[in-house]
């Protein structure tokens, strides 16, 4: 997936002279995950900007640049460091359109690697999408495949509003697929049906999608047909597609890495219950990280949702 993102960034830099890529270590060294590798050499230091170490400044100046007509793509090196930029992101960038009666746009993207499973140190494995859902004016996107990563990132860059683009660290290297020479943007908003099934709707995003698919396969033999939906855009969530599926299956399981309480799964369930209550045949379940600070490396496996935990939930909602 890292390569797909790299290509999308290159294509955006190539086609739109207003696009700039900025962040800590994105230039000379090509990003700590090499996601921006080679961009500095190709597009120059004016448009691929290695910044000083200050997250609020990265997002705050990106916002200023967006006001001036650029389309900054700012990187926060790990999502755990996004807290420092939330004021500029939420109270400033996301609110400027509303504060000016729709007259001022802040087209900007904040890319950030997130999530666990690769034995990173403290603060390097956080999944903080839930922090961003309650902020009007902001979109949140999480791809699970290289093709989606490239297409959704292009759409995020084209989008007239600020978008947080979360990149699952775990899939940077493991998710690989061939992409066409010219990448096409994929609209923000619609989720993606990854697997059809009539018995239960399984919603996931990011690194949880391959896991969800595996879990769906693992219960297939037991006669449970799970429909897997990759949410892709977490905010605003595509409740239309999910509700269509739930109307059919009558059962819902949501998977995410972040802690359960106050997580994005709550919103999926609450909004689905509002619209599909009478179709539901059993209580929707959440398979998530626990309500813990992301644990240290030797214990992270116990924390993360596993295929077994997802499969157990699928069985549970079907049996109940």
């Amino acid at each position: 997936m890292a390569e797909a993102i790299n290509r999308a960034l290159a294509q955006a830099l190539e086609h739109d002279p207003g696009v700039v890529v900025m962040g800590e270590d994105v230039g000379q060294v090509g990003g700590v995950f090499r996601v921006t590798d080679g961009l500095l050499a190709r597009y120059g230091a004016e448009r691929v900007i290695d910044t000083p170490l200050a997250e609020s400044a990265i997002v705050g100046t990106a916002f200023g640049m967006a006001l001036a007509g650029l389309r900054p793509v700012a990187e926060i090196q790990f999502m755990g460091f996004l807290y420092k930029a939330l004021d500029q992101l939420i109270a400033q960038a996301a609110q400027i359109r509303a504060r000016t009666w729709g007259q001022v746009a802040a087209p900007m993207v904040v890319r950030t690697p997130y999530g666990g499973g690769v034995r990173t140190p403290e603060h390097h494995s956080d999944s903080l999408e839930a922090l961003l859902l309650c902020s009007p004016g902001l979109k949140v996107v999480v791809p699970s495949t290289p093709a989606d990563a490239a297409g959704l990132l292009l759409a995020a860059i084209e989008d007239p509003d600020p978008v947080v683009f979360m990149e699952p660290i775990r899939l940077y290297r493991s998710a690989r697929e061939a992409l066409p020479p010219e990448l096409r943007s994929i609209p923000l908003g619609p989720s993606r049906l990854c697997r059809a099934g009539a018995d239960v709707t399984l919603v996931a995003w990011g690194a949880m999608v391959p896991l969800a698919l595996e879990a769906a396969e693992s219960v297939a033999a037991e006669g449970i047909a799970a429909e897997v939906i990759d949410l892709r855009t977490i905010s605003p969530p595509d409740t239309a597609t999910i509700s269509e599926s739930v109307e059919k299956t009558g059962r819902l399981v949501v998977v995410h890495e972040a802690p359960r309480s106050g997580g994005a799964g709550a919103e999926v369930i609450a909004s689905l219950v509002e619209c599909c209550f009478y179709a539901l045949r059993s209580p929707p379940r959440r398979v998530t990280g626990f309500d813990l600070v992301y644990p240290p490396q030797l214990l992270e496996d116990a924390y993360l949702p596993s295929v077994a935990r997802v499969a157990a939930a699928l069985r549970q909602v079907v049996e109940e």
């Binding site: 910044t51 400044a57 705050g60 100046t61 200023g64 006001l67």
Partner: protein
């Protein structure tokens, strides 16, 4: 009394003689740059301004004085919301307002209303903001971005815009205006640091009006001035007498030229005094020492500039009356227009949050329309 109580920490550090060459210290205590003495006499190099421009500067100061007074009345009448008085701070606002070029942008706080009007912001739009509507005048057209409520945040916006101007090879400068309190916020420092590193076409002007609500600026920091905070970021920091419109004009003009020509940002501290309350919700009697206040009343920028003009035969009582009437007429006319603005329907909010409203927003708009 804390008037002008600048140096607070000892400049020497006992026991550190051994490494005195390694100890950062200021070359000299800063002297506020001044063109006009408090009595209006000239004590510094006069900027090259025409007589009309000099009168214009003062006319805007009178405008500011009366806008403030009227706004306080309007607030008491419940016709506008919270107002942040600007009385005493007119000189900084007009000096900056005159120094800026048409293509420049300003990212203001809530205490530069005069500068905003000088930049072409419609006073009716501004008063509508205070009446409790959003920012109506398109900043892309006026170069005036909405007043910033989150203290200090706009410093980063100006620096970011100033980085973009450089990249776009635009001969424009972005100005952030902040208060003394804002210099304690991390964003202020991050912004100056980015500005210095990227040679942003930006200027950061501090209206040091001595107070951040109830906190005196000398309690806000242990540094002897706010201007010297620039040194942390390798950019020039200038202290200017903020009650001297000509000094402020000179320094801001210099800083704007400097930024425009790619030499990087400047931090300017204009030393002035908030003669009124923090806002209409504040009671300064709880904390402002009366003798400090009185000392600064004597330094009123309007007195200074008027004396200067009178000494040159450029102003008299008739002119003053005219300026006052003009100011009041402008405010009243603008307020009338503001109050006649048709109330935007609440459902418009659902269309101005994102370029394309979400399903959720559309459904909620329907909810609103059904419920009411």
């Amino acid at each position: 009394m804390k008037l002008h109580s600048r140096p607070r920490h000892a400049d020497h550090f006992p026991g550190a003689e051994a490494f005195s060459a390694s100890l950062a210290s200021l070359a000299q205590p800063l002297e506020p740059f001044r063109v006009l003495a408090p009595d209006g006499t000239v004590c510094g190099p006069l900027p090259k301004l025409s007589e009309e421009q000099l009168q214009e500067l003062y006319r805007w100061m009178v405008f500011g004085q009366h806008l403030d007074q009227r706004a306080l009345q309007l607030q008491r009448q419940g016709r506008i919301g919270v107002w942040g008085p600007t009385r005493g701070q007119e000189a900084i606002q007009v000096g900056l307002g005159l120094a800026m070029e048409a293509e420049d942008w300003i990212f203001p706080s809530y205490r530069e209303v005069v500068t905003l009007c000088m930049r072409g912001l419609d006073l009716g739009d501004l008063l509508n903001y205070y009446r409790g509507l959003y920012w109506l005048a398109d900043p892309k057209r006026t170069g005036v971005y909405p007043q910033q409520i989150c203290i200090g945040d706009q410093t980063l916006h100006a620096v970011g815009a100033g980085m973009a101007f450089r990249l776009q090879k635009r001969a424009a400068v972005a100005v952030a205006v902040i208060g003394d309190g804002a210099t304690s916020e991390g964003d202020f420092h991050e912004a100056l640091n980015f500005g210095g590193v990227f040679c942003a076409q930006a200027v950061v002007l501090i209206q040091n009006n001595h107070w951040a609500i109830s906190r005196h600026w000398t309690e806000q920091t242990a540094s002897a001035s706010l201007a010297e905070k620039a040194m942390a970021h390798g950019i020039p920091g200038v202290l200017v007498d903020g009650n001297d419109p000509l000094a402020v004009y000179t320094v801001t003009r210099w800083a704007l030229d400097r930024a425009r020509s790619g030499q990087g940002p400047t931090l300017i501290e204009g030393l002035t005094y908030r003669l009124g309350a923090h806002t209409t919700a504040d009671d300064p009697n709880r904390y402002v020492p009366p003798d400090e206040l009185n000392a600064w009343r004597a330094l009123d920028p309007l007195i200074r500039m008027r004396r200067f003009l009178e000494d040159r035969g450029l102003w008299d009582d008739t002119a003053e009356t005219g300026a006052r009437q003009e100011a009041l007429a402008r405010v009243d006319e603008a307020m009338q227009r503001a109050e006649q603005t048709p109330m935007p329907p609440a459902e418009r909010l659902f269309e101005t949050t994102l370029a394309t409203p979400t399903r959720q927003l559309l459904a909620q708009r329907d909810e609103l329309l059904t419920d009411t």
